[in-house]
């Protein structure tokens, strides 16, 4: 978690810039605020397992991020947390299943389809990478690379969900901020396991 928070703090400005271009300029600040709040909450309470940790983080994000990203990342982690609850050892299979639950939750809440230029365009490729991976370690690496490709692939798209959709054609040639924060989170997850 400390690393996730550090990653969001590090990329705060970049996410703000991306969101200023096609949104309202708050994505970086929102994610940074949420992650700091999550750290605080985690510090305050002992956590039973990975599932409990994720659920605490999810609740912290939901009650502090706001905007579109709050409910979406909140839902992602809440669903993942529920799937991992009581699991002592997280292997590729359980992790992939949890990620699948999470992405389904995001799509249920936000109704975004692939290529709508949202975080879903990074979340789904990551899921597919996990599904094809031989083990957890390379799964996380592949997921991060897939999320990065997904993120870059949002650049030419016309947004059809979220605030960027108001821009129509003018949303082209900009990278989606939500897909970008998803990539940074996947990347941090991969680095964390590796170290």
């Amino acid at each position: 978690m400390t690393r996730f928070a550090a990653s969001m703090a590090e990329h705060r400005e970049e996410l703000v810039q991306l969101d200023t271009a096609i949104g309202d300029g708050d994505h970086g600040t929102n994610m940074d605020r949420g992650m700091r709040k999550a750290l605080e909450k985690l510090g305050a309470a002992e956590q039973a397992d990975a599932g409990a940790v994720l659920k605490t983080v999810a609740m912290a994000l939901i009650s502090s991020v706001g905007g579109a990203a709050g409910p979406l990342y909140g839902t992602l982690l809440l669903q993942m947390g529920t799937a991992l609850e009581g699991k002592d050892d997280v292997d590729l299979e359980t992790y992939t299943a949890a990620w699948r639950k999470g992405v389904e939750g995001v799509q249920a809440r936000g109704k975004a389809e692939p290529r709508d230029k949202t975080m879903v365009d990074a979340l789904l490729p990551a899921l597919q990478a996990l599904e094809r991976a031989p083990d957890l370690d390379s799964g996380l690496q592949d997921a991060a690379s897939a999320a990065e490709r997904g993120m870059l692939d949002t650049i030419p798209l016309i947004a059809r969900k979220g605030r960027a959709s108001y821009l129509g054609e003018r949303s082209k040639d900009h990278q989606d901020p939500g897909a970008t924060s998803t990539y940074y989170l996947c990347q941090t997850a991969a680095e964390t396991l590796a170290s």
Partner: protein, 333 residues
């Protein structure tokens, strides 16, 4: 960026403290979760009205809390939807047994957060309805987007629904009336200058010294198109034509006309705009029966304005005229 703030991080807390210091006689202020509620809440037997949204649009929504309008408002960070826990706490604070209406502007974040709050609050046993405003005709092709944004009609709807709730109408009646107001209201806005959010410190878009942006939202989102600035008469035409064609408004209609400042435009310019709006309305055979002119749903210090037209019926007029006593709108008391 130059602003009268201490730090961007403390902005919301400092502003809420100012609201409490100024209006402690009429409001209770909660800081965590953040919401403002009228001092006499919950009013037994009255439908509670809760709204909320990102900060930076003041006086909306906190300035509209009080008898005859909202029971509570949840402020988010600047231009960021508030969170479900705020809405849940506010909803509980105003529940007088007749149910609670959530008034939500149509933005992905606001809708999702209010949805989650409604789920939570229903689980607590409170009857909750939501009405989503989406009056911004600048958003075209709403099938392929997040839909039209909720803008100026939100203020008018909060006043009219507030009147109906104060009159002890049922949750279903108030919600139905609120939806009718939204369905009969249309808005469009424009900017002379962008705004700067305290967190980013940068303008939301760039305009040259002779350009205006037509069709902007209230979060510094760029608009439909930009063009060289023309006289007030031309700008009014640019906003009124899409509004009138969209509903459509037609000759003989009775309307409420609302000329709203985006925050950085002098009142005298809004009256000049109103003059042009009145001329165009009259050329289309519309009778302006009620009007509102001023800074009510703003976008920080953005210069510019928006126009809202609402096709009126008798019930709307009655509740528009009903007494209201809030820092932002006050009459009849």
């Amino acid at each position: 960026m130059k602003k009268l703030i201490n730090t961007p991080d403390d902005l919301l807390r400092d502003a809420l403290q100012g609201v409490e210091a100024a209006h402690g006689d009429r409001f209770r202020v909660s800081y965590d979760p953040a919401y403002v509620v009228r001092a006499d809440a919950p009013v037994q037997g009255k439908v509670g009205l809760v709204s909320g949204g990102g900060s930076g649009h003041e006086p909306m929504h906190g300035g509209f809390v009080g008898p005859g309008m909202l029971d509570a408002a949840c402020p988010g960070e600047v231009f960021t939807s508030p969170t479900p826990d705020q809405m849940q706490a506010a909803t509980q604070a105003v529940d007088g047994g007749a149910g609670v209406l959530h008034i939500v502007k149509n933005y992905t974040g606001d809708v999702m957060n209010f949805d989650m709050a409604a789920d939570l609050t229903r689980a607590d046993g409170v009857e909750v309805e939501a009405v989503v405003t989406n009056d911004d005709v600048a958003v075209q092709d709403s099938l392929y987007t997040a839909g039209r944004r909720g803008v100026g009609i939100t203020v008018v709807l909060e006043k009219i629904a507030g009147g109906a709730a104060e009159d002890r109408r049922s949750l279903q009646d108030v919600a139905e009336l609120a939806r009718r107001v939204n369905a009969n209201g249309r808005s469009m806005g424009m900017a002379l200058t962008p705004c700067i959010t305290p967190a980013s410190g940068n303008p939301s878009f760039e305009l040259t010294e002779d350009e205006v942006e037509i069709g902007i939202g209230i979060h510094g989102e760029p608009g439909r198109f930009r063009e060289k600035i023309g006289p007030a008469s031309q700008i009014a035409e640019r906003l009124m034509t899409p509004i009138i064609e969209d509903l459509p408004f037609s000759s003989g209609d009775r309307v409420l006309a609302f000329v709203n400042g985006m925050g950085g435009t002098p009142l005298i310019e809004l009256y000049i705009m109103y003059n042009e709006v009145a001329k165009i309305a009259s050329a289309h055979g519309l009778t302006i029966e009620r009007n509102l002119i001023g800074n009510y749903i703003t976008s920080l210090e953005m210069a510019g304005c928006s126009i809202t037209l609402l096709k009126l019926d008798d019930e709307m007029v009655r509740y528009w005229d009903a007494p209201v006593n809030t820092p932002g709108l006050r009459w009849g008391v």
